[in-house]
Symmetry: D2
Subunit: 241 residues, 4 copies
Amino acid sequence: MAEELKFPTGLGTSDADSISLLGQDLAADLMGKVGFGELAFWLVAKRRPSSGEVRVFESVLVALADHGFTPTAIAARLTYLSAPNSIQGALAAGLLGGGSRFLGVTEDCGRFLASALAAGRTAEDIAGSGERIPGLGHPVHKVRDPRTPVLIGIAKEEGLYGPHLRLLDGIAAVHPKKLPLNGAGVCGAALADLGLPVEMLRGFALLARAAGLLGQIAEEQQRPIANDIYMTVDRNAVFEP
Amino acid sequence: MAEELKFPTGLGTSDADSISLLGQDLAADLMGKVGFGELAFWLVAKRRPSSGEVRVFESVLVALADHGFTPTAIAARLTYLSAPNSIQGALAAGLLGGGSRFLGVTEDCGRFLASALAAGRTAEDIAGSGERIPGLGHPVHKVRDPRTPVLIGIAKEEGLYGPHLRLLDGIAAVHPKKLPLNGAGVCGAALADLGLPVEMLRGFALLARAAGLLGQIAEEQQRPIANDIYMTVDRNAVFEP
Amino acid sequence: MAEELKFPTGLGTSDADSISLLGQDLAADLMGKVGFGELAFWLVAKRRPSSGEVRVFESVLVALADHGFTPTAIAARLTYLSAPNSIQGALAAGLLGGGSRFLGVTEDCGRFLASALAAGRTAEDIAGSGERIPGLGHPVHKVRDPRTPVLIGIAKEEGLYGPHLRLLDGIAAVHPKKLPLNGAGVCGAALADLGLPVEMLRGFALLARAAGLLGQIAEEQQRPIANDIYMTVDRNAVFEP
Amino acid sequence: MAEELKFPTGLGTSDADSISLLGQDLAADLMGKVGFGELAFWLVAKRRPSSGEVRVFESVLVALADHGFTPTAIAARLTYLSAPNSIQGALAAGLLGGGSRFLGVTEDCGRFLASALAAGRTAEDIAGSGERIPGLGHPVHKVRDPRTPVLIGIAKEEGLYGPHLRLLDGIAAVHPKKLPLNGAGVCGAALADLGLPVEMLRGFALLARAAGLLGQIAEEQQRPIANDIYMTVDRNAVFEP
């Protein structure tokens, strides 16, 4: 069947002589002139961030890159052990754990705050409602998550402490349980204050984690532990029907 | 069975009060002070790069982030269409195409040069051998890949034009086929000149592509085309046994 | 730290001389004596199915195995094109599209019926409520999904037409919109009538699809189309900011 | 651009009234009449297998379905722990470990034998060459892999003990190291004797493993251990730069 097809994109295009990205000349205008974090922001938001926005954004990515032997890091290492020729498979396996439980709080918190703001709710109302608040409380850092004050400080320094961070801070201040703010949740509020779409917040957590997983895989290449983990589990297996 | 277990890592560790990454205090020493590309380098190389190294490294990541509607970008969009609740699955599906054919030349070129250097081979010897040289030639940019001179220029500006880039340049200069250097291959040579392990070069291409795929997924959220691609294929399906 | 570890499992264990699966001797009791579909049922349900149950179960797997050029099939082929050395990556990429939109109706329908039955709701009540009913209606088979009467017939022949199928049939009979039952939804009801856990119904759809994806990948090896799909999209790309 | 597109397939096609698979009417001719293993064979080989071929083929799938707490099983469980809403992600993560090291021997052995037969090599020649022979030797079953004699026996009963199995048996008989045949390797030889393409042998191992991984995920839903594995690793982490 003869047909007219058209697939629009504002990202990359190329022809024999040039490569274009985001409407810019990739080689002449971007390489060596734009940072990698800056480009990641630009690719999603379709606008170039200011230097202050880049600083907050990269602080978030740095905060979320690696947390040691998380289930995702272990899954990536075990997959590398099994299929060492396919580093893309090990990275993908690690990222697939970026779901609701371990990497989800960043997006959950940003979405929660965005919809609370859209509904005109106050910190007092939310804190008093008894509902579960994503970003409040942390399983390990029960008194204070060290990332929280630092990220809030950076946002204030850059003039980017906006309504999402303010509402989250407000909720923590008046909440009866006196729980600390979870750093990963604060990251979600900070990203939302940068105007990034809340549907993509988990995506940024995944990008940050991709860097951490590369570190895990590189360390596994040089000082492997995945086989020890596997053997530890296997030799303590007990048959129970 | 009672046993002594020990899993060493030089990456992230944490306790109730602090989070440590690469032996640094994550909140006090890294957030807001280290860029995201810089951290990715550090996580893999286990050493902090100089500012010149960061510039070359981020230029490579920028060069490789997105090339429009590649098979990996299309696969990520189709997966997002099918499973919109699992952005990690769409990202992983896109990265899984980061194999030998489309994203492989960066690592292939770096490995080839590293082993040629280890064997003490010269550009003339390699160019005259008739063997296939990863990084020489490009399916689209048949005269000149615009990324090539820019990346080589940045490496020279930063004093990081080392033996891998020099050998690759030398091969192109004397090769009888007068083929252009592939920009993605030049990226591999530049990363190898930064002292990064050649076993991880594909990993950096994947990290770069993760940012590009986020852009593709965000665009798919806002101006979708995956359903059109699917319908184009489906309505032109023809049964042939 | 010395510690006691214990990881219980009712699945596979082995030692130097024997391999055990589900408490059976794999080589002596299972190989050549148990079908593959039968084993898949047993692995999840932890009980051996009757021959009638196997027939219904395998009918469902056959019904869901392949539907031609779905987004998942196209994603698998594109991933194979990009990374032909990692067939596991192409298969995984295809399965990652097994989410809420294209492969989800099987589980959604089974879950919906299970919770309606638990709540003691009737077909009349559900059909009259105006709520969306997973499994009712199909985007292509607007009059009748040919799988529906066949699967219901098989379940009746085997004496396995139970409360989930009965409720779904009842809803369709009294629903004001006179929509046909979606075959993939009926599959979910049939699996639920076999006593399989509703949390795993999507898993069976994925297993079925794994076989279909192998067919797609094998066909891609022998008569490739992924590059044509890619080129079709790429050459019709239009830059729109 | 107006263009003629044509995407041929011998697998699934459908229209408003019918669904066709492999040129058969899915509902009328396949559901309830063809087993799931039989269909998987047919989808890849594009021919319907005989009942003897189905028995050998399903014996192989049963032999490879699950081996307890392999790295792939652990990776799938950890991914399920992290992202319980995306069962497709947990399954995909598990399959991504199906690479060269743990699931690769089936394909490696089949390929090795096929190319040895094509080259007209004898068992004596191969056994005496000193080269590594995929399928000979097993890390756990050092004397005898219990799957080996059973699978060879089934192939003989069904008249499907062909040149690949015969050559592998011959190699083991004359090899100076007196190593046992690895059951997973024997599976590859048996699949090759069924005329299945050697490029797809890893694919069948992955299909078998998909069933095993569903069992692992279902068990993780009902009696979880992934969090214990994670905590075991995490609490024994030791910082070493």
